[in-house]
């Protein structure tokens, strides 16, 4: 299925117009993507919907506190599908950005998303989400109203939802605030979209102790859409027209629409139980670890015989002497580390 869609995405690909003699510096390339993903003229959820949906009725409010402008949602028709849409909304100018809080959702935004997911499930409507946020709003009021809990509940709701979920990363996939509405059955990304565990500035200020190193952090985290596809976090990358989505929002929406419809068609034919199980398996496979197996704990302490005890006592004596002169102590700790290392070498 993925292959077929990859083919489809390739079909839609146009040769980049007058490809600039781009420096092959990968750091510059990923940083250019970050800039494009943040371009204020880039089409956001409402602009894309205007092109790819034949109808959209926005629904407001989380029924608990308020209506968050940073996450929009509602009922839409895409081709022959009636769907529930949830997406981040950034502003295209300063005034709108203040109203939209630059796409940084507060708890009420995520709780609106949860409410709409549950609405979709009750009426058997598939969900389409559009992801474009620097991250959840990190201010004091968000903490007071439990932004972390809201994100956790939203992700939890997505894992059990018995209707198809198609997620599209259209711009910035910033950390938990993005993932809260991005845990779909399939994850599509626009070519210049980025997806990361933390904003590159945040990563740089923690690991490099300065946000100036954001480009290095962006590269180290492999946050470009293509890199995310290679990791399996993103299933399919949709190419953007010209220099980027902002030069032709209508064409961008047209390309996305084709891929979204393709996936909705496939997922609509999947029984709900299977859908939930496949979704769980998709995410479970996105961990990278090794299993050395259920070997015994690295503490094979056997009761030493008399000869061993004597030998050890003797050795311990000579070692203490040497160590006192060296001014260092040798404890059991070093030996234990050796045991650990040996066990790992065994594998």
């Amino acid at each position: 299925m993925v292959d077929r869609l990859l083919g489809l995405a390739k079909q839609a690909e146009h040769p980049p117009q007058a490809a600039p003699a781009a420096p092959p510096d990968p750091r510059a390339t990923v940083w250019a993507s970050v800039q494009l993903a943040r371009n204020p003229r880039r089409p956001h959820t409402l602009e894309l919907l205007a092109e790819l949906a034949s109808e959209f009725a926005e629904l407001h409010g989380d029924r608990l506190f308020g209506d968050d402008g940073a996450i929009v949602g509602g009922l839409a028709r895409i081709d022959r599908f009636r769907v529930v849409v949830v997406g981040h909304q950034k502003g295209s100018d300063t005034e709108e950005n203040i109203r939209r809080n630059f796409g940084m959702a507060k708890p009420e935004g995520f709780r609106k998303a949860i409410r709409l997911f549950e609405l979709a499930e009750r009426f058997g409507l598939p969900v389409v989400t559009f992801v474009d946020t620097p991250g959840a709003y990190p201010g004091a009021e968000a903490e007071e109203r439990g932004v972390a809990e809201a994100i956790a509940r939203s992700i939890g709701a997505m894992t059990r939802l018995r209707v198809p979920i198609v997620s599209v990363i259209t711009g910035e996939g910033g950390s938990g605030g993005a993932l809260a509405i991005a845990a779909g059955d399939v994850v599509i990304a626009l070519e210049n979209a980025v997806y990361s565990v933390i904003s590159p500035e945040g990563c740089a200020s923690i690991l490099w102790r300065t946000p100036e190193k954001a480009a290095d952090a962006a590269l180290a985290m492999r946050m470009s859409a293509r890199d995310q596809q290679a990791l399996g976090v993103v299933d399919v990358v949709v190419s953007e027209p010209g220099e980027g989505a902002h030069v032709d929002p209508a064409e961008t929406a047209r390309r996305l629409r084709a891929v979204i419809i393709e996936y909705l068609t496939t997922l609509a034919a999947t029984p709900p139980d299977e859908l939930v199980a496949l979704r769980a398996r998709r995410y479970r496979s996105l961990g990278a670890f090794q299993d050395l197996g259920p070997g015994p704990e690295p503490t094979p302490v056997e009761r030493p015989g008399l000869a061993d005890r004597l030998r050890r006592a003797f050795e311990a004596g000579s070692r203490t002497l040497g160590d006192t002169i060296g001014g260092r102590t040798v404890g059991g700790r070093d030996q234990r580390e050796d045991v650990g290392r040996l066990q790992e070498d065994d594998e």
Partner: protein, 289 residues
């Protein structure tokens, strides 16, 4: 050349081994007494961070813990390098803690009641959640589900492990998915938040317990101070992101002093534990809500 006497060298090494200064009140604490007091300052009540081993020893009946999935080890999926390579950081953390990653899970008993328990160790790369931690939390939930035993997770973590990129972020989905199946089956999950519980750990399994407990004055929040400061220039209120702040805003049920934690867990499980599973009688009626 001055003579060096062995006893002099030894005496100089005494203070750091024997005494710890309390960061809360500045008092010098005798380590033996600190351990006896469950690593809580006798003068001001400051709760020191615990290793996974110490935490398990404090909570479980002696000799009842049997570890599971101890063979899971982290890999370096995106060859991450900042000022230091991730692989080197892992090696250093292994050496410092003797652990393979920041989580340990297994089965044990609390006052005779069998539980599945997973604890995070802040000493291993800030207790951060990468693929191994996420997988262990999920397996702990699945182990609890399979045996119909209550699940306890003790968190002490800075959040998702940046060095594993978005794969660390995906652990939020993995852990929440496993916990959701546990919830659907009616198996109780008690989340215990110790200092600190922040970022992706607080935004996933830690905040969704059937009952959420926290140790006093633990740092609990979504955005870390360094991230907030770099992102939004906001004056933060006093007591912000501490246990008491979370309690007053409705996100944790109870703040429990470490010396009472074990008894408190036993008491809560006495109400919630499923009648069929574990060794609890289960005849007591639980009042929900």
């Amino acid at each position: 050349m001055p003579l060096k006497f062995p006893f002099r060298a030894r005496r100089e090494s005494y203070p750091p081994d024997l005494w710890t200064q309390c960061p809360g009140c500045g008092q010098m604490l005798f380590n033996k007494h600190l351990d006896r007091d469950l690593r809580v300052c006798a003068a001001c009540g400051h709760h020191f961070r615990l290793t996974a081993t110490a935490r398990l020893a404090q909570l479980l009946d002696p000799g009842t813990f049997s570890e599971r999935d101890e063979g899971l080890i982290p890999v370096d999926p995106i060859s991450f390098v900042d000022s230091r390579a991730y692989a080197d950081r892992l090696e250093a953390a292994r050496t410092a803690t003797g652990l393979r990653d920041a989580a340990v899970w297994g089965f044990g008993s609390i006052e005779g009641r069998r539980v599945a328990i997973c604890v995070l160790d802040f000493g291993f790369m800030g207790g951060s959640m990468g693929s191994v931690v996420g997988e262990k939390v999920a397996r702990a939930a699945e182990g609890a589900l399979a045996e119909s035993l209550p699940l306890i997770i003790v968190s002490s973590s800075g959040g998702a492990r940046m060095q594993e990129g978005t794969l660390a972020l995906m652990q939020l989905v993995i852990t929440l998915g496993a916990l959701d199946r546990l919830r659907a089956a009616g198996v109780p999950f008690v989340s215990v938040m110790a200092d600190p519980t922040t970022g992706g750990v607080f935004a996933s399994f830690a905040s969704v317990g059937d009952v959420n407990l926290a140790e006093p004055n633990a740092l609990i929040g979504f955005a870390g101070a360094r991230v907030s400061a770099g992102t939004i220039a906001d004056e933060l209120p006093p007591g912000f992101q501490r246990s008491e702040f979370l309690l007053s805003h409705g996100f944790i049920d109870r703040i429990v002093h470490r010396s009472a934690l074990r008894a408190e867990l036993a008491r809560i499980l006495g109400y919630l534990a499923p009648a069929g599973g574990g060794s609890g009688s289960g005849t007591r009626e639980a009042s929900r809500g």
